[in-house]
């Protein structure tokens, strides 16, 4: 986390002095973006940097389900299972992904390449079903496009 401190300092300058606990959320977001997850050592270092009790950072991390405390695969596949995508077949696509990768939703492949998650609405109902791979949206998905997509991921 240490190399992010200049960024955090800049962020801190924009907050009133007594609002250190409000910085927890942007800081842990940045840490996860940087490392891929939030390590225990990050929590300790951030608590020390911000001067907030460790428990407040733990609360934020557990409140928001998008924060991860453990590393995940190189490619994070997030299949939407909300209404529009479900009506357009995302449940079938999720089953296809699980069979192709040999893991259930929420798991990571043994080689550490893929982590498969289900998520709620991604705000792209017009192009349902949607699969997000890391930060990239893949729209109007079907089994053939999924197979082609997986082939292109190392």
């Amino acid at each position: 986390m240490k190399h992010l401190i200049p960024e955090f300092d800049a962020l801190r300058a924009r907050f009133p002095a007594t609002f250190a606990s409000s910085l927890v959320l942007p800081c842990v977001r940045r840490i996860q973006e940087d490392r891929g997850f939030v390590a225990d050592s990050d929590i300790d270092e951030l608590a020390g940097y911000l001067g907030v009790p460790r428990v407040q950072i733990e609360e934020v991390l557990s409140y928001y389900t998008m924060f991860r405390r453990k590393p995940i695969g190189r490619w994070h596949l997030q299949m939407c299972r909300n209404i529009s995508c479900s009506m357009r077949g995302s449940e079938r696509l999720l089953a296809h992904l699980e069979t192709s990768l040999g893991i259930a939703a929420g798991q990571t492949t043994a080689d550490g390449r893929f982590t498969l998650s289900t998520v709620e609405c991604l705000g792209s109902c017009g192009t349902a079903p949607v699969l997000v791979v890391n930060e990239t949206y893949h729209e109007n998905m079907d089994t053939a496009r999924i197979d082609a997509l997986l082939k292109g991921l190392d």
């Binding site: 225990d40 009790p53 460790r54 428990v55 407040q56 733990e58 557990s62 409140y63 389900t65």
Partner: protein, 479 residues
């Protein structure tokens, strides 16, 4: 001083008060779970909802977080308020297991009281209750039942605002939320942790020591003073009500300190006390001495008193080590009866245990005796020392190494506990303890607090106050 109206009655509120504070200060009760007079306002339980009369029929709002305003008209018990409270109680008990029959809190539970007062109906939910963790070890001393928890967060705020350990937090979200200790488990190090058991408005936080030990309606609180340090916190000692005396089970249960809770005293401890005080039973339930002895030989108290009077009468230079656990009444009795005969020093009966916290910024103080201030006011602060011609030492209370006494001096010893030194004294008197008599202690700030007896003393045990009067030997009566 804005004037507001509560249930039509004019009330003078303070500028910075909330409606809750103004109402309670003037004798209007508004129910509350998450609000606490000594913690910050959280406003999550919604049970303190009141009606504010205004244009368009008024509105409902929570009293704990509503500042008073001039001319405000509050209704605490209107039809709207009663209907809202009933709905709120339905929500709060939505996932509550209603296992009062096996809950330690039953009988003193806010949730139970409010359910009877404001709801009274069975759950209207057809969904199964959310299952959660039972018996979660929050620390070595406290167990958490997450199904009973209503997430008021009083305990969390206590660790942030009062004990400053920051050891508790709320994990997860919505009905998955759990009170949990921080991952470094620092709640074990919080020396005020047991206060969260009293703060808990439901039966979620439970004392391991008190778990399944007694139903609270069989118990009675006796006002007392914690002897754990010179702070002298006001406490309640809970013990079995005499009218519910057990005759079939172990009779010791009738004379047991079941639990210790703080009794609010703004001049000394506020509403809190430390964990050491919660464990006072261990101090008071040590084996007791109940037999007067002459050099280890049992005698009746008349013989012991006669012998002691003889020793006191014969002595040329008697020295007394006065107990810092004696009450002000006992100390005054000693001063009056024997103070002129003895050279008196105040001794520390108890020293801090290894590893014990000596002092902190909240309540804990370095001197681990309750009445050093009261004793020093009568006998001075000089440390004990023995002149070469000392030929009699009266030791009152525990904690003296007899090896440190002048080797040729006779020893009169007064002690409540069964300890090896008792048999080494020339005359030994068993004396009563704090839980068997009334009295006062003066704390380090000069505040005097009273304690009352909870149990009867054994017949063979003497009250020091009466004993000193019996031992009084005038200069003219010397043998």
């Amino acid at each position: 001083m804005p004037e507001i109206f509560i249930n039509g009655q004019a009330v003078q509120a303070d500028d910075n008060q909330t409606v809750m504070q103004a109402a309670l200060a003037h004798g209007f009760f508004i129910p509350y779970f998450c609000w606490h007079p000594h913690l910050s306002v959280h406003g999550n339980c919604r049970i303190c909802t009141v009606e504010v009369e205004g244009d368009g029929g008024g509105w409902l709002d929570i009293a704990c977080n509503m500042p008073v305003a001039k001319g405000m008209r509050i209704l605490t018990d209107s039809d709207k308020v009663r209907a809202r409270r009933k709905q709120t109680m339905q929500f709060i008990t939505l996932n509550h297991p209603v296992d009062c029959g096996i809950c330690d809190k039953a009988g003193e539970c806010t949730l139970q009281d409010y359910h009877v007062a404001y709801n009274g109906s069975p759950s209207t939910s057809r969904d199964p209750k959310v299952q959660s963790t039972k018996f979660f070890p929050l620390s070595q001393r406290i167990i958490l039942d997450n199904e009973r928890c209503i997430l008021c967060t009083r305990c969390v705020r206590f660790t942030r605002e009062v004990s400053k350990s920051n050891a508790l937090g709320v994990r997860n979200r919505g009905d998955h939320s759990l009170i949990r200790p921080t991952e470094d488990r620092s709640f074990d190090a919080d020396e005020y942790s047991d206060n969260v058991i009293d703060l808990c408005p439901v039966g979620a936080l439970l004392s391991r020591r008190f778990h399944y030990k007694a139903r609270v309606w069989y118990l009675k609180p006796t006002p007392s003073v914690c002897p754990g340090c010179e702070r002298g916190c006001s406490i309640d000692l809970w013990h079995r009500r005499p009218e519910w005396k057990l005759s079939a089970l172990d009779a010791r249960q009738n004379n047991r300190i079941d639990r210790v809770t703080p009794r609010e005293n703004p001049a000394v401890n506020g509403p809190w006390m430390c964990n050491k005080g919660r464990d006072l039973a261990a101090t008071f339930e040590r084996a007791r001495a109940d037999q007067p002895l002459l050099k280890g030989r049992p005698v009746d108290s008349t013989a012991a008193i006669a012998n002691a009077r003889q020793l006191i009468g014969d002595a040329r230079h008697p020295v007394a080590l006065v107990s810092s656990w004696g009450s002000n009444e006992e100390l005054a009795s000693f001063k009056q009866a024997l103070g002129g005969r003895f050279e008196c020093f105040v001794k520390a009966d108890v020293a801090a245990a290894p590893g014990e916290t000596l002092a902190d910024a909240i309540l804990i103080r370095p001197d681990k005796n309750p009445n050093t201030a009261g004793a020093r006011a009568l006998f001075g602060a000089a440390p004990p020392r023995f002149a070469a011609d000392t030929d009699l030492v009266l030791v009152w209370g525990e904690g003296t190494n007899f090896g440190d006494l002048p080797p040729r001096a006779k020893v009169i010893f007064l002690n409540a506990w069964l300890q090896p030194e008792n048999g080494h004294a020339d005359v030994f008197f068993p004396i009563s303890v704090q839980t068997e008599r009334a009295g006062h202690y003066t704390n380090f700030e000069g505040v005097e607090s009273a304690f009352a007896p909870c149990f009867a003393k054994a017949d063979t045990v003497a009250d020091a106050e009466a004993l000193f009067a019996a031992l009084a030997v005038g200069p003219e009566s010397g043998a």
